[in-house]
Amino acid sequence: MSAGRYAFVRRRLVQLPFLVLGITIITFLLLRLIPGNPALVILGNHYTAAGARQVNDALGLNKPLLAQYGQFMSRLFHGNLGYSFFYAEGARTVIGQHIYPTLFVILYAAVLAACIAIPIGVISGMRRNGWFDQGARVFFTVAFAMPSFWLGLILVLVFSVHIDVFPIDGYGKGFGGHLYYLFLPALTLALPYSTVLVRSLRASVISVSRADFVDTARIKGIPTWRVLTHHIVRNAIVTVVSVFGVNLAYLVGGTVLIENVFSLPGLGSLLVSSVSTRDYPVVQGVTLVFALGIVLVNLITDVVHAMLDPRAATGSGD
């Protein structure tokens, strides 16, 4: 019976390879955008003819474009993301070493955002235009206009320096340590993200609570909290799931900045440092990883959406 439900997810899966292909093309082309002589740019002061040849071989810059792409793709299939000039080892290894903190912060931020957004969104929606709703709206308008790195610095100033509840930077050891050290960074990411979630949830709750089935539910004589959870929120959450997934790109972008502010050894820091050291293969590799990660998350979001809304199967697709 649930076969039909996941029909459109299957459609997404079919589209997947093309999407991935497109991503690889763009990522590949990225490197070809380098103005001038890439080897010169990469090696800088250490430029030697021999070194230049090495670079050109490694990047395959001597071959025609299509062959370059072919080389790129075949390497990709073998899990080879290129060679990091700076770290003098495979880009994949370097990336692998940096991926965990980033994952942790992003997930942490997503969870925090949900914890913040759900109660606030529901209350704002149920008591719309009340003082809570208006206050929340003002708060979030301001929060949304704040650059995340600035917000992070303020939080550090208040909570790490003056009140000294949280550590200034660093990553901590062990799961509990991570939770503690990464709370501020995750919160910084979560707040602007919550803004979009709250707005969406609020609108969703407002429109759902006007529906007839809410009255039908009340008419049964069930307790109000049950009407709220099983009927109103249960339906309102469906649209929010899409919004959640679509805006996840924001979290990824934000983590780059947050890792800088809080000195976290994650992919974001790696990206930035690689840019300054002109370590292009790493830049390319990180971009690729991020993009594929987002594609994966979007897929998961779609599945969750289908699970929550049985009508999603009936081919309305996007």
Partner: protein, 353 residues
Amino acid sequence: MSDVADGAPLLEVRDLRTLIPTSRGTVRAVDGVSFDVRLGEVLGLVGESGSGKSVTCRSIMGLMPPGAARISGEVYYRPPGASPAEAERNVLTLSREQRRRLWGAELSMVFQDPMTALNPVVRIGKQVIEAVASHSDLSRSDAEARAVELLDRVGIPSAKRRMDDYPHQFSGGMMQRALIAIALASNPRILFADEPTTSLDVVIQDQILDLLLELQRDLGMSVVLVSHDMSVISEICDRVLVMYAGQVVEATETDRLLGVPSHPYTVALLRSLPQFVTGTRFLPSIAGAPPDMTRVGDGCRFAPRCPLVEDACRTWNTELLAVPGAPVPHLSRCRRQEAVPSMGKVPVPQEVG
């Protein structure tokens, strides 16, 4: 038609008024409505959209959006076996919690559009079980069995299998049946049915009406049927209240209403029914439009559209008058009742104002 029981009023509504503030002014959606619902009867509420019939039911039930309306008046619910204290308490003043206890077990409601009246993301079975479980202590399996029983009772084939379906997998008629099952799960004494057949096609309409009548007889409950369609009302109702612009303009038994209507609006309503139109290819409509509900005041509200109107009508402080010589109670809010039977010879105004 059902057998009218001993006539003890189960529900008494006195001077119900519902005022809805809007940006354009305060809408007097229900303006002084009084009626009784008797044990075991089927009562019809008929009128155009905006006449206040739905709002009346929702106000009585307590389903108006919080803060959206100011409701005044008295509503007494007197089930057999109620204590004197319960019988004299105004339902409109009950707390949320007290009202919740009435919902489902004593008073219930079925809404117009089955598509939006069912939770789209929860299985039908669960929704029915929820209704069953809210006023009883049955075990899970017992509640489930009862739910299947209910679905079966309302005429859903393969009820047990259908429990696992989602609303969008049901047809319109089946959804409405499921809604009725939900409404009846805890054996309420009064069922308000707000346009239950309006979004269904004609064949299904009849089936649903028959079902309602059947259930009403078997369970001995009272039904308040709201509709804008006189033919629906005339099919199963014992008594009818005709509403216009927030007021009751005529009230009597159905047969009498159809035979001896005593208000010009009722006549116009009847005239627009296919089965009552003879000798013409065109369905007469009622010229003009209902009054602006933010600006009604004294005077007959139907006056602008009434073929029997006199100057005095516009300033008359309307009230329901007993129709003289009627074999059953018959009220009409027209001061020219005696002229109404002659309307058969007065042409209905045709052009639009």
